[in-house]
Amino acid sequence: MSYAYYPGCATHGLSKDVDIATRKVFEALGLKLVEVTDWNCCGGGFYDEKDEVGHVALNLRNLSIVERMGFEKMVTPCSVCLHSHRLAVHKYKENKDLRRKVDERIKGTSIRYSGKANAEHIVWILVRDVGIQKIKERVKRPLTGLKVGAYYGCQMLRPEEIMGFEPAFNPHSLEDLIAATGATPVTFPAARSCCGFPLMGSNPQVGIKLAFNVLKSAKDQGADILVHPCSLCHLQLDSLQFKIKAEFNLNWTLPAIYITQLLGLAFGFSADELGISNLAKQVLAQKGVI
């Protein structure tokens, strides 16, 4: 079984470990990831504020390539890329005035979008297409005793009518995956609150407060570590751990790793193979996982 794979700019950039871990997990499950030929940036979740028509065109370009490659599902590990594409498709289909403008804009380009292809999150593929049972069967190193906060963030869930995979207010895909690894899923109040990444582009002081809220909420519920489904949450919650610690004068940190990094550990890969950060490695070692 193969899927068209859209990494996104972050996943090939500062969140490269997300790409590494995701590829390893999919390979272990016998699934092939075919990178979208000559893919372009989705706009980062921002581009539509500059040029709504251009944003839709950018995203349709990727999907049109995916259709030419013979696929309908374009899987991505980045929630923002997921959201950007699905939003573009939704707008293109529902807003006649916008559709006219987009069609005008893409005249003379190679973009031919039939309406069939759309973006899907790798979590959806794992939970729905692969199934929890198959994932359980691949677990070589159960992560028993590890308390893992299930953090969803925003873009994978909302708006519910466009994302369509699970209810925005009581999702459980991540808890199911965590439980499959043998670890203990921890739900916490801020599990569906924004990590603040989009706000870093204009008002970083508040953006970082949002990140802090997420980590604190998970810590207060007893999580050792946090998993998330987004390359940009990865930047915010993983890379900026020390910034947050400094900013809020904390005597604790709560490492955040990407969901396939957790799955990869359970599948038997080493933390280094999965690109897991030093901070997370420390906690994992403490809990006897590695």
Binding site: C9, H12, G54, D97, S110, C194, G201, D238
Partner: protein, 320 residues
């Protein structure tokens, strides 16, 4: 065509409040059918079981905006919620009802909405047409596509759900909130309005304080997409000369993204970062990155898009 009905007994667990008693939970049992709305359930509880239960509700058809509350934790209009739909969605015949978040409860499910109203008044929520037009001496017609675009944002029923669910509202007192922005944009974008400059002073800084979490889009019962109004408001930034730090940073950021995509078709994170924050901030954050062990990734150069001319064409906006 016949209509199949179904019945069930449901337990309503309601979070009540009074200044004398404080907060407390109370449970009510009620038999409902497939069509029973939560507003109808509340009305029956009040009429048949407990006349002291206090809540706001009026039109029961999602147009007056009175009945916003949290049902099983979801910010919803009670009239737009069928009891059995929630029972099925959550797999339980216990329905929890609480007042909306963020606003202060004053009695049971009734909250103080003054905070919400103040936000709306701040954006000058009315049209200021030309004097001659107002006096009927001139006509300013509206194009059908303009009417459609504006009407989308003008449907706000002032229910308060979006503000109650917004994380930026809670964190940032300078942020006007989603509803006010939808309202503000409706007038900002109206070609007949004459106080654009004043509106930009009110709206623009606040527009850059939204975190794009799509919570407002998700909870809005009238499909208004306040976050879309905020994005469209940001597009007016180039018209403003005096830029606050938030506006300036935001503008640099979006320009950096645009330039990066125009150049390579992808985001060069280092470049975007530098352009947005400047050298000093970037160095600080570089140190944090180093501590996290991420620097090795920062040095990887991503392959640019081969068909870059196509990208540039679709982003140029010009089409002959």
């Amino acid at each position: 065509m016949s209509l199949q009905n179904e019945e069930a007994e449901v337990i309503f667990k309601i979070k009540r409040y009074s200044p004398e008693k404080g907060s407390y939970w109370q449970e009510y049992k009620l038999k409902v059918d497939r069509f029973t709305q939560v507003t109808e359930a509340l009305r029956r509880i009040k009429s048949e079981q407990d006349p002291t239960l206090a809540y706001r509700a009026s039109c029961h058809m999602a147009v007056c905006g009175s009945c916003g509350m949290r049902i099983n934790g979801e910010p919803r209009l009670a009239c737009k919620t069928l009891v059995l739909d929630m029972v099925k969605k959550y797999g339980s015949n216990v329905i929890t009802i609480e007042p909306m978040d963020y606003f202060k409860p004053v009695k049971d499910l009734i909250v103080d909405l003054d905070d919400f109203y103040q936000r709306m008044y701040k954006v000058k929520p009315r049209l200021y047409p030309h004097k001659e037009v107002l006096e009927g001496k001139a006509e300013h017609r509206l194009k059908p596509e303009d009417q459609r675009e504006l009407w989308k944002f003008a449907q706000c029923i002032w229910c308060g759900l979006c503000v109650s669910a917004c994380p930026s509202v809670k964190m940032d007192s300078e942020f006007l909130g989603p509803a006010a922005h939808a309202k503000g944009y409706r007038f900002l974008a109206d070609p007949r309005d004459t106080i654009t400059e004043e509106r930009l002073k009110i709206l623009l800084d606040s527009a850059w304080r939204c975190t794009y979490c799509y919570m407002c889009y998700n909870v809005c019962p009238r499909d208004i997409e306040p976050v879309t109004a905020i994005k469209k408001t940001r597009a007016y930034t180039k018209l403003v000369k005096e830029k606050t730090p938030v506006i300036a940073t935001g503008e640099k950021h979006i320009e950096a993204i645009h330039n990066s995509i125009m150049e390579t078709g992808k985001l060069d994170e280092a470049k975007v970062y530098l352009s947005t924050y400047g050298l000093l901030e970037s160095i600080k954050d570089f140190i944090y990155l180093f501590q996290s062990g991420k620097v090795k990734y920062a040095l990887v150069k991503e392959k640019p898009v081969e068909n870059i001319s196509e990208i540039r064409k679709i982003l140029s906006g010009e089409n002959k």
